[in-house]
């Protein structure tokens, strides 16, 4: 099949950037979208031009490195699929495809399609952990975890931190990522002692870096791991109760 690509090029964080058009012929339907970019890059290099920079690593949908707005949709047209798992058989022959980086103030473009997502790391560093220094852990089966709780925590923990939720949001809000992390830890018995301080610290850090949520729901639709927007409601409830609760008395309840 043949496709034509309109690709965002930007030489660095301070460059204003532009679109570039490239026709790519001889595309196999079994190629992934990133392999299409590989082919484009090989041809650019052969023509003495600089290849398009894009983030990618595992190419099996788990590391969360790949990104890309494809025809205005985060990770492209297929639901529940990261760009690296998107295959060309999902596009018609002759398709004209627009490829852009994530666009969000919290994710500045570094070059072409590569953006800086370290704002997510700042949110986790603010409190996205359970304090369990190495060596201090009790026998694992001492703490029973109801299967339903473990399963729900796993649903949230499946987040790959790719940033599609932010890129898809009209407000560039970071709620789905933050809520998933908070729910993963807050749904487990091990996460209870720090539950209040965690949600307060992470939400405050998130508010510093990202826009505000107004319940559009675009994040859930764009998420390659189909993380539920329900976790945002859970986070909001946790945040509110944490504001009211007096942790000094937690041991008495």
């Amino acid at each position: 099949m043949n496709v034509s690509l309109r690709v965002w090029r930007q030489d660095g964080p301070d460059d204003e950037g532009r679109f570039e058009d490239h026709a790519v012929d001889g595309v196999s339907a079994d190629m992934s979208f990133l392999e299409l970019l590989d082919v484009l890059n090989e041809r650019l290099i052969a023509a003495g031009k600089e290849p398009v920079a894009f983030d990618h690593d595992c190419r099996e949908g788990i590391c969360g490195s790949c990104s890309l707005m494809i025809d205005g949709r985060a990770h492209g047209p297929e639901l529940g699929t990261a760009t690296c798992q998107l295959h060309m058989r999902k596009f018609p022959d002759g398709a004209r495809i627009v490829v852009e980086p994530w666009r969000a103030a919290a994710f500045p473009v570094l070059r072409d399609l590569v953006v800086d997502r370290s704002a997510f790391d700042r949110i986790v560093e603010a409190g996205g952990y359970i304090t369990a220094p190495t060596g201090s852990a009790p026998e694992a089966n001492m703490t029973r975890v109801p299967k339903e709780a473990a399963d729900a925590a796993m649903d949230a923990a499946a987040c790959i931190g790719c940033g599609a939720c932010v890129a898809a949001c009209p407000n560039r809000a970071g709620q789905l990522f933050t809520a998933a992390k908070i729910a993963h830890l807050g749904l487990l018995p091990q996460g209870q002692p720090e539950r209040d301080q965690r949600v307060l610290a992470m939400v405050d850090q998130m508010e510093d870096l990202f826009g505000s949520c107004t319940n559009h729901g675009e994040c859930e639709a764009a998420c390659p791991k189909e993380i539920s927007i329900d976790f945002i409601a859970l986070m909001n409830r946790d945040y509110l109760s944490a504001k009211f609760r007096n942790r000094k008395l937690a041991g008495r309840r």
Partner: protein
């Protein structure tokens, strides 16, 4: 440069390596050794600086644990976040000798299974320690909030894996590596927040700096700005993963590379058993010539999937049209005791034989079937979905086939590398002060790694072994400041790095880095893949240096050194893979026996199984660098089997 190796105390005059294994019974070595190790008192720990390169399971666990102890840590990764290291892609699970199933498991049994699974080419003392620590790892990870699979009573669930007859594999759906890495990453994030660890993402290590015979720091390149800079410390820890990408097509992430350990090797660290590579039996076969990587389908699928091919060569009927009588469940037929759960090396070679015998399936006839229809009939689709849902979805995305309706097609692919930098019992390389953890070292898996053991080893090394052993190295250095990062030894290393970068950009030849990488991978797969012979290895050893020279004469690396330049990053990594590939083949040529993942066609039993030569090769082959293209020097660490009797592996 290689003089460092001969200066270091571990290399005795006769070229025999001393791993400094503690004396005493194998079950008591680790406890006794921990007692014997010198300690650094809590107030003094902050006077020591440690560099950790790589933030996968081993690196993140080590950096977090060292930070908790009070050391001042700098951690580096080339990814944009430490959470993206390739440990994240591990699917199936992590072994631990908890014996929660009451099915006869024990530390001894995990130890025995691992030594046997590694085809008797691993170090007993290390493996026993690994089995001991496995139980602490599960406790540690559960406490961190890793959402392991649970039984309805709330207790931890386990499943079976290849090479074992007990159920000891803990898992988090098909994303165990992801969840364990997030646990370690969160512990690391906490230390970053507390200020004990300084994190440097998008920063690639390009050299180790050795001064006065000790590792004293590293030279790195900032992958965004291109700036080359130096970092000094009292000790350097490499946890930089394996080298399967020497085959170009592998299950590794695209960024995985050999550069960190190869640069250390060039500075004097010995490289051990590089020919021990693991070809994983269950990956999705290549679909076209544009294939950029191969995707693993977890070994856990072999719990419920049955592997078969058409009994007749050239049978092109669709799988549902082939009746039972015309199918050959070849693993169940050849290995009745272990069936579909034979170790990886055995399963991989068996499928190669089927495909070579023209019984392969799929459009390119390059796979075998992995069929869930029996399990779906027995357990129902929902159970299979719960166990393997994400894997089946991934398979469907990639191939366009529905694995609940049509059997999966699988074929072996390069996956894990058992070889790596040689380390002693303390995980220290032959360069004092340079420690090596996880897949980057060679120590625990012998010639073949059992499934669900990589995560175990990475975390054992990072959480428990290194934090204990590093104090033994650091304690005598109390009061010594690190060599300053502007010292001449750093400046000359920086100059070398800059020269290499400039040289790659200056070639301006006609072929891309990927083209060379693909060609190198083809040579390695054809001549040093699942089966090797003296003849194919000699071919490889002829072609690799020629292609390497062509690479340096004709590669085209566009762009400049002062920006984010992915072609340049790849070029540096592929240049190192070229040098490393030659050593891998030299090692494979040298080892005139078959063991585990190293199968020399000249050495097999009448039934086509690997035939070891314990008389001649029961040792670790550790190679010293003598220059590019020069014959490396061989050092041997003899392997003694005192607690597991040497035997021919049998899974029949």
């Amino acid at each position: 440069m290689s003089s460092t190796a001969t200066r270091s105390p571990e290399v005795a005059a006769a070229g025999r390596l001393d791993a400094r294994i503690p004396p005493g019974p194998v079950a008591e070595k680790w406890d006794q050794h921990r007692f014997d190790l010198k300690l650094v008192n809590p107030a003094n720990k902050r006077r020591f600086e440690v560099i950790v390169v790589g933030t996968g399971l081993a690196g993140a666990a080590a950096a977090a644990s060292l930070g908790e102890l009070g050391y001042r840590v700098k951690a580096f990764c080339f990814q944009d976040s430490p959470r993206r290291a390739h440990s994240i892609a591990a699917q199936g699970g992590i072994n631990a000798a908890k014996n929660y199933r009451n099915d006869g498991d024990s530390v001894w049994r995990l130890f025995y299974d691992t030594v046997k699974g590694g085809d008797y080419r691993s170090r007993e003392a290390n493996v026993y320690r690994l089995a001991q620590l496995s139980v602490d790892i599960i406790d540690q990870c559960a406490a961190q909030g890793v959402p392991f699979a649970r039984e309805y009573g709330g207790l931890l669930d386990t499943r079976s894996f290849g090479g074992a007859q007990v159920s000891r594999t803990f898992y988090a759906r098909g994303q165990t590596g992801q969840q364990l890495l997030l646990g370690a990453y969160q512990a690391l994030a906490r230390q970053i927040h507390l200020g004990t660890v300084a994190m440097y993402p998008r920063t690639e290590m390009l050299d180790v700096v050795v001064h006065d015979g000790r590792a004293v720091g590293i030279v790195v390149r900032d992958l965004v700005t291109g700036e080359v800079s130096s970092h000094s410390a009292h000790a350097v820890v490499l946890a930089t993963g394996g080298y399967s990408n020497v085959y170009f097509l592998s299950t590794n992430a695209k960024g995985c590379n050999v550069t960190a350990i190869w640069r250390a090797h060039r500075k004097g660290a010995l490289m051990a058993n590089p020919c021990f590579t693991q070809i994983h039996p269950t990956c999705i076969p290549a679909s076209d010539d544009f294939q950029s990587k191969l995707t693993l389908m977890s070994e856990s699928l072999r719990n419920d999937g049955r592997i078969w091919v058409p009994a007749d060569a050239g049978d092109t009927r669709s799988p549902d049209a082939i009746p039972e009588a015309d199918r050959d469940y070849y693993l169940e037929r050849r290995y009745p005791a272990f069936g579909n759960l034979v170790p990886r090396d055995v399963a991989s070679r068996a499928s190669k034989h089927e495909v070579d015998a023209e019984r392969g399936v799929g459009p390119r006839r390059n796979g075998v079937y992995l069929d869930f229809s029996d399990a779906i009939g027995r357990l129902g689709r929902s159970v299979i979905e719960e166990r393997y849902g994400n894997l089946c979805q991934m398979y469907e995305r990639i191939t366009g086939d529905d694995p609940y309706a049509v059997p999966m097609r699988i074929y072996p692919a390069p996956h894990y590398t058992m070889g790596g930098l040689w380390v002693d019992y303390d995980l220290m390389s032959t360069i004092p002060g340079l420690f090596v953890l996880g897949e980057a070292n060679f120590s625990d898996h012998g010639a073949n790694r059992l499934g669900a053991s990589a995560l175990m080893q990475g975390l054992a090394d990072g959480y428990f072994v290194l934090p204990a052993t590093i104090s033994g190295y650091l304690a005598p250095l109390l009061g010594q400041a690190p060599v300053p990062a502007d010292h001449e030894s750093f400046q000359s290393a920086e100059r070398e790095v800059n020269d290499r970068v400039e040289a790659l950009l200056a070639v301006n030849g006609s072929c891309s880095v990927d083209w060379f990488h693909r060609e190198l991978g083809r040579i390695m797969w054809d001549y040093c893949g699942m089966e090797r012979s003296a003849e194919t290895l000699d071919k490889a050893l002829g072609e690799i240096p020629a292609l390497r020279e062509e690479f340096h004469r004709d590669v085209r690396v566009p762009g400049s050194a002062a920006t984010l330049n992915q072609s340049l990053e790849k070029a540096g990594r592929v240049a190192d893979l070229f040098e490393f590939a030659e050593l891998l083949c030299v090692d494979a040529r040298h080892r005139e026996e078959s063991c585990g993942g190293h199968f020399r066609v000249e050495h097999q039993t009448d039934e086509g199984e690997a035939l070891r030569d314990d008389e001649r090769f029961a040792y670790v082959a550790a190679w010293g660098f003598e220059g590019v293209g020069a014959e490396p020097t061989l050092h041997r660490e003899p392997l003694a089997f005192e607690d597991v009797a040497l035997a021919q592996r049998s899974y029949k």
